[in-house]
């Protein structure tokens, strides 16, 4: 997690930058593809209901599903580990790697590993970790963090990538995406084939069969879980569904919502390690089930957010995310979903301001493939922040005074007159260009109308009153 400065100050540094513009361009494109793919689904509401029902059912039976899943994986010769928090998870993974003498690890995209800051920990233990998703690989080379959960380096241009490859890999500069892609393919192919271990995330686990489902478009998720001798899968504990058919339903809405594809290129279903007569595949399989704050979320006011399938559709339509990009959120989970997940996982201190980074426009809920009621959960968290007295004094005092006025018509009339009197020195022809005090922020960007002399109440009394 990055240094806790406020969302607003991070956002202010990003607004109007090429990074923010690149993200806006990119996610508008992705949102358009999503719309096409979902409207093709004539019955998209029915499919969403089905996906929502599956996820909510899974959450309300989570302990039993995890127990069943663990039994199945163990029967198949895999090992399941349980990590209460980030420290435990990192130590478990480092322990597995050290016991097996692994030095080089090929890694496919895993949000959980970002959440755990696992790469940094493993590197401190002398283990080399190479990200293999093209976007994550670029971010790792650049020493940068992902700015979008589906498209990690949306904030970089092809020129940035070309320069990075020239500097870091010693290849000739090119900004042709096809050639940049070839460079990465050649660099990473050897890593896949020589790595001692592969680390992957898990999109979904199937309790009934003990299967892990992993989707990728590039194929790196398959290579990481096929070529190395050892496979370690990191799984947020909520990422489970009862049956294979349930997984199939989720997969269809996941790909459509994320990138507008009908299915991702590779849906990889792993059920235990390589079997005796299999020609290839990893000989050892470890699944690390991570809590790290999730059971706290499940027992709290935002439990429903655990139904999230990490498609990123809510990011792509969020007016705030479109303006500032993922880096403004300060952690790996950004956008509307991140504003709920982050305070849940890491506490309201210092993340209480993320739920306020929303206009509550509701575009997120509208596109969510599992119908998560994001705005209402943002309100739940705001209520908690206010109750914990985290809001600025002017806002608390102002709201108290406003409430007093709004519950008493005489005081309401006085408040309107007062507003007119106080704004007089700053007004010209009914508008205010600059005003001190809390509304300063408003007039930094736009004019503020001055309250007119005659309110509607006044007019009604004058013209329609008894």
């Amino acid at each position: 997690m990055s240094q806790p400065v406020s969302f607003l100050s991070r956002a202010e540094r990003l607004i109007g930058t090429p990074e923010a513009a690149a993200i806006d361009r990119g996610i508008r494109h992705m949102a358009g593809l999503r719309d096409l793919a979902m409207t093709e689904y004539a019955i998209s509401d029915e499919v969403r209901d089905r996906a929502r029902a599956i996820r909510l059912h899974a959450l309300s039976h989570l302990d039993r599903l995890l127990a069943h899943f663990t039994e199945r994986v163990t029967e198949l010769g895999g090992q399941v580990h349980f990590a209460a928090d980030a420290t435990e998870a990192n130590e478990i993974v480092a322990g597995i790697l050290q016991r097996s003498g692994s030095r080089l690890v090929a890694k496919s995209k895993s949000m959980v590993s970002e959440e755990l800051e696992m790469n940094r920990y493993l590197e401190s233990q002398g283990i080399e970790v190479v990200e293999t998703d093209l976007g994550e690989y670029i971010a790792q080379l650049a020493g940068d963090t992902p700015s979008h959960i589906i498209a990690p380096v949306l904030h970089m241009t092809r020129h940035d990538v070309g320069k990075l490859f020239a500097d870091e890999l010693g290849v000739d500069y090119t900004d042709d995406p096809i050639r940049l892609n070839m460079v990465a393919r050649v660099e990473l192919r050897r890593v896949f084939l020589e790595a001692d271990a592969g680390i992957s995330g898990v999109n979904m686990a199937v309790a009934e069969s003990g299967s892990l489902v992993l989707v990728t478009n590039e194929g790196n998720g398959r290579l990481v879980t096929t070529a190395p001798r050892l496979h370690i899968a990191l799984m947020g504990m909520e990422r489970i569904v009862p049956r294979w058919e349930d997984a199939a339903v989720i997969l269809e809405v996941l790909a459509r919502s994320a990138t507008g594809q009908r299915l991702s290129v590779y849906t990889n279903v792993i059920t235990g390690p390589r079997r005796p007569d299999d020609p290839d595949g990893p000989e050892e399989l470890h699944v690390v089930v991570v809590d790290n704050g999730r059971s706290k979320i499940l027992g709290g006011p935002t439990a429903e957010i655990l139904a999230c399938i990490r498609c990123g559709a809510c990011l792509n339509v969020c007016p705030v995310f479109r303006t500032v990009g993922g880096h403004a959120y300060g952690t790996v989970y950004s956008g509307p979903v991140g504003s709920i997940v982050t305070p849940g996982l890491h506490g309201m201190d210092p993340w209480w301001d993320l739920p306020y980074a929303s206009t509550l426009c509701g575009a997120c809920e509208e596109v969510c493939p599992v119908g998560i009621r994001i705005p209402s959960m943002l309100l739940n968290l705001r209520e908690i922040a206010a109750a914990e007295d985290r809001l600025p004094g002017w806002l608390n005092r102002g709201m108290k005074a406003y409430t007093a006025a709004a519950t008493d018509p005489l005081r309401w009339a006085r408040l309107k007159r007062l507003a007119r009197v106080l704004t007089a020195p700053f007004s010209a022809r009914g508008w205010i260009r600059r005003i001190p005090g809390p509304a300063r922020g408003w007039t930094n960007h736009r004019d503020l109308p001055r309250p007119p002399k005659e309110s509607f109440n006044d007019w009604w009394r004058e013209n329609r009153g008894p």
Partner: protein, 242 residues
């Protein structure tokens, strides 16, 4: 023809900042044959407090509003999608399990947004006019997603010369106190919208919520733009734009 008796709720912002919208609502409702009454003592629905997390204070304001409105009869009509949505969707939740639950449900069942009331309930023949000017219409978020007000608006705007306004279903960046708590973000969202508005060639901007419209109008004035801003009630009141 004796039309229905309606209770007009003008919202805090119309009362204090834009009474012309309330007057226009009176005019259009009367043109539609309604007998308009104005429940005395109305102030604010409480949404500002709900959105900042001051839920108890939101409940206090909502209680006041319920008391004022419960003393009246007939449909309650509001020229704001956002305040209507607050009452329709949040009041039942705010009072669930309290001794006001029944009152809240009783009042909320009477609440209608202005365009919804005109188009869906009255099936009025009245249509909006923007003179011979080209109109951009912003579908304000709470009304659009919470109440489905795009249908009524399009119905009432039939015949008006509409500009192609890219992003007219996207948030304008107002967000209530968001515009003051996160002014830079709010301002940047607004600027992007105003860029698209200006390139649409529209001469008039309209919408169903004065809150969003004042925010956008403030932005247009700061730019020195000539685009005029009108609430949809004003376009429906028969006021001829010069």
């Amino acid at each position: 023809m004796e039309g229905p008796r309606v209770q007009l709720v003008v919202t805090c912002l119309v009362d204090a900042m834009a009474p012309r919208v309330g007057r226009a609502a009176v005019t259009v409702l009367e043109r539609a044959g309604c007998r308009v009454e104005f429940p005395e003592g109305q102030t604010c629905c409480g949404q500002p407090a709900l959105n900042t997390g001051h839920t108890d204070q939101a409940r206090e304001m909502a209680t006041h509003t319920l008391e004022v409105l419960d003393a009246s009869e007939g449909p309650i009509v509001i020229p704001s999608g956002s305040c209507t949505e607050m009452m329709v969707h949040h009041y039942p939740r705010l009072f669930a399990g309290t001794d006001r639950e029944e009152q809240a449900n009783r009042v909320v069942a009477r609440v209608r947004e202005l365009t919804q009331f005109l188009a869906d309930d009255l099936d009025t023949h009245i249509r909006a006019t923007a003179g011979d000017r080209t109109l951009a219409f912003q579908y304000c978020c709470h009304g659009l997603r919470g109440l489905g007000l795009d249908g009524p608006a399009d119905h009432l705007l039939y015949g008006v010369d509409r500009a192609e306004f890219d992003g007219d279903r996207e948030c304008c960046g107002f967000g209530g106190l968001f515009s003051i708590e996160m002014p830079a973000v709010s301002g940047a969202i607004m600027d992007a919208k105003l860029d698209r508005l200006e390139s649409s060639g529209a001469e008039v901007l309209s919408g169903g919520d004065i809150s969003c419209l004042l925010h956008l109008e403030g932005g247009l004035r700061r730019r020195g733009s000539e685009i005029e801003v009108k609430h949809i009630a004003e376009l429906l009141s028969g006021e001829v734009l010069s």
